[in-house]
Subunit: 105 residues, 2 copies
Amino acid sequence: MSTIAKTPQAPYYSVIFTSLLNEDDTGYKEMSERMVVLASKQSGFLGIESARESVGITVSYWANLESIKKWKTQFEHQVAQTIGREKWYSTYKVRIAKVEKDYGF
Amino acid sequence: MSTIAKTPQAPYYSVIFTSLLNEDDTGYKEMSERMVVLASKQSGFLGIESARESVGITVSYWANLESIKKWKTQFEHQVAQTIGREKWYSTYKVRIAKVEKDYGF
């Protein structure tokens, strides 16, 4: 599903979300897919990349800090975050990082 | 293998490396494991997180831009990058991003 995000010229912002799931992750997959759909409709959204093995990494890209803040406080996303903390994640880390430079091939 | 990196207080730097592999990825896994070992010995290295599904995401964390630059030009790493471009990766993107803030639980 996930591929490499087509982001504009730097600078822009990234949210690096790393998580470990509990053994019982019932409902997690559906919710995370719903959140990708919802995030992609937010103002300032630029793209998202996601993969999970022992650790799950989701990197979303945003035009600026304001759009990240708005997404964090979006109602349905807040509900998902609460369930995540209470039920799905054994641990997680969120890192807000400004992309200063990018290149590829 | 990979888990959530124990990084120090922000600010610090991240390298978000996203890639898609070719069908024939012979030797890739061994090389990527070798690169993790090698990276972790570099000055300024703070941690690394990695997962691959349809897309591969590796995020490494560094004290500053100088340590990222040194790692990029490290000899054995340069050899790996060359083989990667010629053989393993159908496409990739490297993003250098300054972590301004982080939190978790």
